[in-house]
């Protein structure tokens, strides 16, 4: 492949959806790549070589993800891709990167049970978000949980995991409902009525896309109280909250390794640069941060490998570390997933997810964990101390 002394730019493929049902989140992820690439280039690039994005809009459709991944690798000659959000879109890209021995940097939280030497996973798996949230709900709200989600593999597996987790701790799943991503408002209003009569201690919600906002609004319209029966999610982010309106999310919970409010130096500096560039309203979220960190991890690896030959680059990537906004992260050589810092956030009146619990150490990813027994994940309560 390219010689280290070549001054040609390194091209990376970018495959997110600027249109379609998950566009809101994926536009934020696209902004994260763009922002991180600009940062890399502003600080000398890859030893003088520029990092250049080749990007396509995958339209929230797995068929396009598959087709465009092929195009990026075969026609555009790209070796490293950043992209995908839903599991179905990642599954559509896996055969392409495996066939051509390319590398996909996948930044979203997902259901686990996967390993490919052609993927680096940057988002949380169940032992980094779901287990902590389950423990928190059991300890602070009670053992009766109603599970709702979009009807595809990730919300269903997240639901199964949480259900398993609480049943092992004498809890009970009082309802489990999965709905299509374009579910109409009326169905969600009916769902909230059903939840109200089941009277759970908490609602575990992994709706995805615009249905998130519709559900939180239906909850508020029913006059339910987040202090007594919160919606708890692994998905709902600052971006979704801004879209629905902060007043509808206030008091509800999200578990993720990163929120915009995280008070690390790296996050404060990152936010300052982001706001300088995109204005005071610029917003981050768990996927934004994962994309941002993965770009920097790849840039580091390109510098040390001097090539984007995937076998060489991969060896440089696994085991590498980065001072991410969430804290120092590391790519686990065993699983190709990432050591992350679990946190529980609670939305305030301004739409900020304030950290109410965090981890005393990064948690090793365990994507093949089938049984979530009571384990001390090292979570501790946090009071105040959030950044803006």
């Amino acid at each position: 492949m390219s010689k280290p002394d070549s001054q040609e730019p390194f091209r990376i493929g970018v495959l997110f959806s600027e249109t379609g049902i998950t566009a809101a989140m994926e536009r934020s992820m696209l902004q994260a790549v763009t922002f991180a690439v600009e940062e890399v280039n502003a600080t000398g690039g890859i030893d003088g070589r520029e990092l250049v994005m080749v990007r396509y809009d995958a339209g929230s459709d797995p068929v396009y993800y598959n087709y465009l991944a092929e195009q990026l690798i075969v026609s555009d000659g790209v070796r490293v891709l950043f992209g995908c959000y839903r599991s179905s879109t990642r599954k559509a890209v896996i055969p392409v990167v495996e066939r051509h021995n390319a590398l996909l940097m996948y930044p979203a939280q997902y259901e686990g049970f996967e390993y490919s030497k052609n993927i680096i996973y940057g988002g949380a798996v169940a032992n980094q978000n779901n287990a902590q949230l389950g423990d928190y709900l059991l300890k602070n709200f009670g053992a009766r949980v109603f599970i709702v989600g979009s009807d595809y593999i990730w919300p269903r597996e997240a639901g199964r995991t949480l259900s398993d987790l609480i049943s092992l701790q004498k809890g009970e799943t009082v309802g489990e409902v999965y709905m299509s991503m374009d579910v109409p408002q009326e169905s969600l209003t009916e769902l909230v009525a059903r939840i109200r009569s089941a009277a759970p201690d908490a609602i575990f919600c992994n709706l995805v896309g615009p249905s998130i906002g519709l559900f939180y609004r239906a909850y508020a319209a029913a006059g339910l109280d987040p202090a007594r029966m919160p919606i708890a999610s692994l998905t709902t982010s600052e971006t979704d909250i801004a879209a629905m309106g902060a007043e509808f999310a206030e008091g509800h919970l999200t578990s993720a390794p990163y929120f915009q409010s995280v008070g690390t130096e790296a996050n404060l500096a990152c936010l300052a640069r982001l706001r300088a560039k995109y204005g005071a309203d610029a917003r981050t979220n768990m996927c934004w941060e994962a994309v941002y960190s993965q770009v920097h991890l790849v840039a580091q690896a390109l510098r040390s490998a001097g090539t984007d030959n995937v076998d060489v680059l991969r060896r440089a990537l696994i085991g590498s570390e980065f001072d991410a906004p969430q804290g120092r992260i590391r790519i686990d050589p065993e699983t190709s997933h990432t050591y992350l810092w679990p946190r529980i956030g609670r939305a305030d009146a301004t739409g900020t997810l304030e950290v109410i619990q965090d981890s005393i150490r990064p948690v090793k990813p365990d994507p093949y964990l089938t049984s979530h027994q009571a384990i001390d994940w090292g979570m501790r309560d946090v009071s105040g101390g959030s950044a803006g």
């Binding site: 390993y115 398993d164 065993e334 089938t370 049984s371």
Partner: protein
């Protein structure tokens, strides 16, 4: 619950319950796995993936004369057994563990060996992590099912055998005494009660007595009476 032993003949083996399947998945990390392959990068890939799944495992080559008792699942490389004449003595009908064949050829020679070993699952080389976890669980579930069916079959077979013997004893008794089959059965049952034995045991005694004294069953009881 079963009222009489005869109900066994009507009731099939219980299907796997939903809970026993989720138990199996939940307990995958308790499985002990023995990987019988020569050292190679491919074997390393397999071991690394077992590590990710979180199973307990060992690799050995050549295969040991006897599979240690605590092993649940055995992976075995098939080609060296054929090509290099490596000893692998596998009791296919009463296996000590689940067997997952690791194959790199799919020609009839290899397939025949896999079938002869009665493998519960197969993985192909080069090793692809995708599917290994399912194959491990599938092999455990398949062998469990095989063992359960075999046990059920043995029980049914014993029942059937006993029933045939009782029928035979009844006709021996009916013929020699000139009584009805129902009466013969009553007598056998009474004897069983008196001797604190079972109907099956008494039937066996009658049959062996018949064999010893060589009573001719073709002799018509009515004719004897006349």
């Amino acid at each position: 619950m079963r009222a009489t032993p005869d109900d066994d003949l009507e009731v099939g083996p219980q299907p796997r319950s939903h809970t026993s399947i989720s138990e199996l998945i939940r307990n995958i990390r308790a499985l002990r796995i023995l990987v019988l392959t020569p050292p190679s990068p491919e074997a390393e890939e397999l071991l690394m993936h077992l590590q990710r799944i979180g199973c307990r495992f060992n690799r050995m080559w050549p295969p040991p004369a006897q599979i240690p008792g605590e092993i649940d699942v055995v992976f075995v490389a098939v080609r060296p057994i054929i090509e290099d004449k490596v000893e692998f003595d596998w009791a296919a009908e009463e296996p000590p563990a689940c067997l997952i064949a690791v194959v790199d050829y799919e020609n009839p020679l290899v397939v025949e060996q896999v079938l002869r070993m009665n493998a519960q699952a197969v993985i192909g080389l080069p090793v692809r992590p995708f599917g290994i976890m399912t194959n491990v669980l599938l092999s455990v579930a398949n062998l469990k099912r095989e063992r359960r069916l075999r046990k059920h079959f043995n029980r049914l077979y014993a029942k059937l055998q006993a029933r045939n013997e009782i029928e035979r004893a009844k006709s021996i008794l009916a013929a020699s005494r000139g009584i009805s089959a129902e009466r013969a059965y009553q007598l056998i049952r009474e004897q069983a009660m008196n001797k604190r034995s079972t109907v099956e045991e008494i039937a066996k005694i009658i049959i062996s007595a018949e064999e010893i004294f060589n009573i001719d069953l073709t002799e018509k009881p009515d004719a004897a009476k006349l």
